[in-house]
C-alpha cells in the first residue's frame, strides 16, 4: 500500500496542506485536489507547455513534476494573474485579448505564464527573445504571429503601468 505524502505549499498566495499519492503529478494535483482548473493538461509529457505554471518565480511544466516535489514551494497559476481586489485582468491577459493572441484558448494559460516569466526577467524583449521564451509552448490553432504581437503589447502595457505607478496613479 502506497504511503501518502504530506505536501505543504502556497498557490496564488493561499497556503494548502494536503496528503497526496506520490505518483500524482503536480498538474493533476492543482486541477483535481485544489480545483484550479485554469492550468490545462495537454500532452502530459513535456512537449506542449499548456500546463506551464510559475514555481518560485520560474516557469515550469506542471505535468513534469510530482505534487510531492512541490512541497515547500510557492506556485502561481493562471488564476493568480487577475488582480484579486479589483478583479481587473493582468496586463498580459488584456494584451492577449486585444491582439487576439488566442483562438480556441486551450494553450493560452501556458503562454500567459511563460510570458509572465519572460517579462519579469526582461521587461522589454526583442522579437527573437520573445520567440526563445515561448519556444516551449505549442499553439495548434497556429496563432503564433498574434501571440508574439500580444507579448509585445503586454511588454508595452507593463512598462507604461510601471511609469504610471511611479507617478502615483497606478
Amino acid at each position: 500500500m502506497t504511503v501518502l505524502q504530506q505536501v505543504e505549499l502556497t498557490v496564488n498566495g493561499v497556503s494548502y496542506e494536503r496528503e497526496v499519492d506520490p505518483r500524482m503529478t503536480l498538474v493533476d494535483f492543482l486541477r483535481h485536489e485544489l480545483r484550479l482548473t485554469g492550468t490545462h493538461v495537454g500532452c502530459e509529457h513535456g512537449v506542449c507547455g499548456a500546463c506551464t505554471i510559475i514555481k518560485d518565480g520560474q516557469a515550469v511544466r506542471s505535468c513534469l513534476m510530482l505534487a510531492a516535489q512541490a512541497d515547500g514551494t510557492s506556485l502561481q497559476t493562471v488564476e493568480g494573474l487577475r488582480n484579486a481586489e479589483s478583479g481587473e485582468l493582468h496586463p498580459i491577459q488584456q494584451a492577449f485579448i486585444e491582439e487576439h493572441g488566442l483562438q480556441c484558448g486551450f494553450c493560452t494559460p501556458g503562454f500567459l505564464m511563460s510570458t509572465l516569466e519572460l517579462l519579469g526577467d526582461n521587461p522589454n524583449p526583442t522579437d527573437q527573445e520573445i520567440k526563445d521564451a515561448l519556444d516551449g509552448n505549442l499553439c495548434r490553432c497556429t496563432g503564433y504571429q498574434a501571440i508574439i504581437q500580444s507579448v509585445r503589447l503586454a511588454a508595452a502595457k507593463t512598462q507604461s503601468g510601471k511609469l504610471a505607478g511611479a507617478h502615483g496613479s497606478a
Binding site: 505518483r23 520560474q58 511544466r61 516551449g136
Partner: protein
C-alpha cells in the same frame, strides 16, 4: 459518468504506475537508503529534476518500485572554480548554469551547450546532474563531456569515486553509476586561454532533442590548427570523439576544403547511426558532415 464511477471505486486515475517515494535530505541518507533498497531487491530510481524521468513514468516506460527524490538535498547546488577546475553540484538547475557568469566566462562551451538543452521551462526544473546520469544519446552534455574530458563524482556506500568521461557512459541511457551510488558533482576544466570552440545542433524545433550535434575545440599555432577535438552526439548510443576527423585537421591550415574533408571523415567514422521517427541513419550522417564543417569554422573564428 464512467469516469466518476471509476474515481469513486478506484480513486483518481494516475498516469505513472505506483511507487514508494522517498525524499532524503543528505547525500549520506540517500546512499544508505539506496543501499537498503538494493539489498531488499527493490528497483529504485533517482529523481533529480525529473524532466526526462517524468515522461517515462507517465508513459509507463519506466515502472520503478521506489523513487528517491534528491530535491531536498540542498548541498548539491553550486558552481565554483577551484585550481582551474569548475565544479558543478549535481542538483544545480540548468537555468542556474545558463545564468552563471563563471561558466559563461571560464567554460563557454559548457555554457552554450546548456542553453541548447530543452526549453526554458525544462531548464528551470531540470538539473545538470540529472542530464549526465540519464545519459540520453541526444543529450548535449555527452559530447561536451567527451570534448572537454570531464569527470563525474559519485558517492556510494564505500565512499567517493571520480569517473573519467570515457568510463562514465556505458551505453544507451546507461552509465557507470552503481544502484547504490549518487552522482554528486561534475567537473570541467577551465577553458585554456586562446582556445576556439564550436557547438552546433539540429532539431525540428528549438529546444527539442537534437537529431545530431557536434562540439569542437581547437587551438591555433603559427597559422595551423592544433589540439583539435571533435565530439558528436545524437547519432549513436553514446556521444564520442572522432579521432579520424580530428587528424584530418590537426597540424593543417584552416580552410573550407579542409573542413569539408574533416566533415566527410567524421561522417565515415561514425558507427551506424540511429534511425528513428525524426531522421534516418543516412540523414544523420549527412548532418554530421555539415555540422563538423560549421563547428570548425566557428572554432577557428574564436581561437586567438
Amino acid at each position: 459518468m464512467l469516469l466518476s464511477v471509476h474515481i469513486e471505486l478506484w480513486g483518481f486515475p494516475m498516469k505513472p504506475a505506483p511507487f514508494d517515494y522517498y525524499a532524503p535530505e543528505t547525500v549520506d541518507e540517500a546512499v544508505s537508503l539506496l543501499k537498503k533498497l538494493e539489498d531488499d531487491d527493490i528497483d529504485a530510481k533517482i529523481l533529480a529534476g525529473g524532466q526526462s524521468l517524468m515522461p517515462m513514468l507517465s508513459l509507463r516506460m519506466a515502472r520503478p518500485d521506489a523513487l528517491v527524490d534528491l530535491g531536498k538535498i540542498k548541498t548539491l547546488d553550486y558552481i565554483r572554480e577551484e585550481n582551474g577546475v569548475i565544479h558543478i553540484g549535481a542538483m544545480t538547475t540548468k537555468r542556474a548554469a545558463e545564468d552563471s557568469a563563471l561558466l559563461q566566462q571560464k567554460q563557454p562551451l559548457l555554457h552554450v551547450a546548456t542553453q541548447h538543452i530543452g526549453h526554458r521551462q525544462i531548464r528551470n526544473q531540470g538539473t545538470v546532474g540529472g542530464s549526465f546520469a540519464h545519459a540520453d544519446p541526444a543529450a548535449e552534455y555527452g559530447a561536451v563531456a567527451q570534448a572537454l574530458g570531464m569527470e563525474m563524482v559519485v558517492v556510494g556506500p564505500d565512499g567517493e569515486r571520480v569517473i573519467p568521461v570515457d568510463e562514465f557512459y556505458l551505453s544507451f541511457l546507461t552509465t557507470d553509476i552503481d544502484c547504490s551510488e549518487v552522482l554528486t558533482e561534475v567537473r570541467a576544466p577551465v577553458m585554456p586561454g586562446g582556445t576556439g570552440w564550436g557547438f552546433q545542433e539540429i532539431c525540428r524545433r528549438e529546444g527539442d532533442l537534437a537529431i545530431a550535434g557536434v562540439a569542437v575545440t581547437l587551438k591555433m599555432e603559427a597559422g595551423s590548427c592544433v589540439d583539435v577535438v571533435i565530439a558528436v552526439f545524437g547519432v549513436n548510443a553514446i556521444a564520442a570523439r572522432l579521432d579520424d576527423a580530428e587528424q584530418v585537421v590537426n597540424g593543417n591550415t584552416p580552410g573550407e576544403a579542409l573542413f569539408a574533408q574533416a566533415g566527410k571523415a567524421a561522417a565515415a567514422a561514425l558507427d551506424e547511426p540511429i534511425t528513428d521517427v525524426h531522421a534516418t541513419a543516412e540523414y544523420r550522417r549527412s548532418l554530421i558532415a555539415t555540422l563538423v564543417k560549421r563547428c570548425l569554422t566557428e572554432a577557428v573564428s574564436r581561437a586567438a
